[in-house]
Point group: C2
């Protein structure tokens, strides 16, 4: 398995994807200090493309940047988490609703299969695996969204959440069960070609509920 991506195009691209990957997979955990020279040496490029990469990641909110000081991996303080989830609930809800009429029965079946895997996963609960399946499931639902801007916003939201090291469900394991049920309900709405409004609201609430669970959990700490 080659470490460096082959199709990388420009060095800036390479650097961008490399750093992003390390953030998402947790090699660079929140608060990690991103030193340009060090990354450049590591990737065998000069600092210039690395700078560009960092700035792009900053624009996506994965990295916090301070002039003349440096870049750090954006922490997920609880406030940020709230903002991100709230934003995602809105854009993902919209994306799912817009996507729904375009989802064929094959894709529905695929999503349902993933959801069944999630249900099985409830037995020997593994939050990390569960979270990845969760993303897979939702991807099927919103990926057909015809508006690329909205789709992009959804992706950005998921990316930011991914930089939470492991998983939302580590904090709120109780949500996992409900989550699976709500997924099935969502699928049935889509199959029955429900109104866009209805689907949007369901998708939005599904996410808000996870956020609420997290918040009431956090309050007890």
């Amino acid at each position: 398995m080659t470490e460096t991506v082959l199709v990388a195009g420009s060095k800036s691209e390479q650097a961008y994807h490399a750093v992003k990957a390390r953030i998402v997979e947790g090699t660079y955990s929140p608060g990690y200090r991103l030193v340009l020279a060090a990354i450049a040496k590591d990737l065998r490029v000069s600092v210039v493309p690395v700078r560009e990469a960092i700035r792009r990641l900053e624009a996506e909110g994965l990295v916090k940047f301070e002039r003349n000081v440096g870049a750090t991996v954006a922490g997920i303080d609880p406030t940020e988490y709230l903002y991100t989830m709230q934003t995602l609930s809105i854009v993902e809800g919209a994306a799912t609703a817009m996507s729904a009429p375009l989802i064929d029965s094959l894709a529905i079946a695929r999503a349902r299969a993933v959801n069944e895997e999630m249900r099985e996963c409830l037995q020997h609960f593994d939050p990390v695996r569960f979270t990845r399946l969760n993303q897979d499931f939702h991807s099927v639902l919103f990926e057909h969204c015809p508006n690329p801007h909205i789709l992009d916003l959804v992706h950005r939201g998921w990316n930011r959440l991914a930089s939470l090291r492991s998983s939302t469900f580590r904090f709120v394991p109780g949500r996992a069960h409900e989550s699976v049920d709500e997924h099935e309900a969502l699928l049935q709405l889509i199959e029955s070609a429900a109104e866009a409004d209805i689907i949007e609201k369901a998708a939005r609430l599904h996410r808000s509920a996870t956020l609420d669970a997290y918040l009431s959990q956090a309050k007890n700490l």
Copy 2:
């Protein structure tokens, strides 16, 4: 009046704001070819900070970038316009709804005053002025949104629309009158502390209606 901004901080910042300003105010119109060296010479800096600025603008969608070819001011082909308006309808609707409970009566009065100006403006219709007032009006409504991510998305949407040279209402003057009425309706909803759902839907429809008007207009060309 000094041409260069004083608080500009880094050269990258300077370049970013300078180029952005020129795009928004129309000095660089859509399709304009942004040549790094030329801009750098013009701003008395080297190309490196200009590159960074361009990349940031690319991330915001104001600039289209092609490897080894160059950057151009993002055109507003009708499709892009549609996507942007659709996205804006969603995030602005949400922002307005979240903002609504925090708007005090003073701000309401201010918004109403702006709307009255718009109504007067209907007599000797000036699309550019009308559009600016329109932005002022909506700013009052969504600016209190407590979620900075969502607010940022709204601003980005408006910025992209601003790079339309003059005005939406140049194309759909018929919408102007209805628009003013819908504004008043929105204000009354907010004053009466209507449910967030209701406000969100109203704000969203208000924008979609403009989009629909544009689309049916465009179909006739």
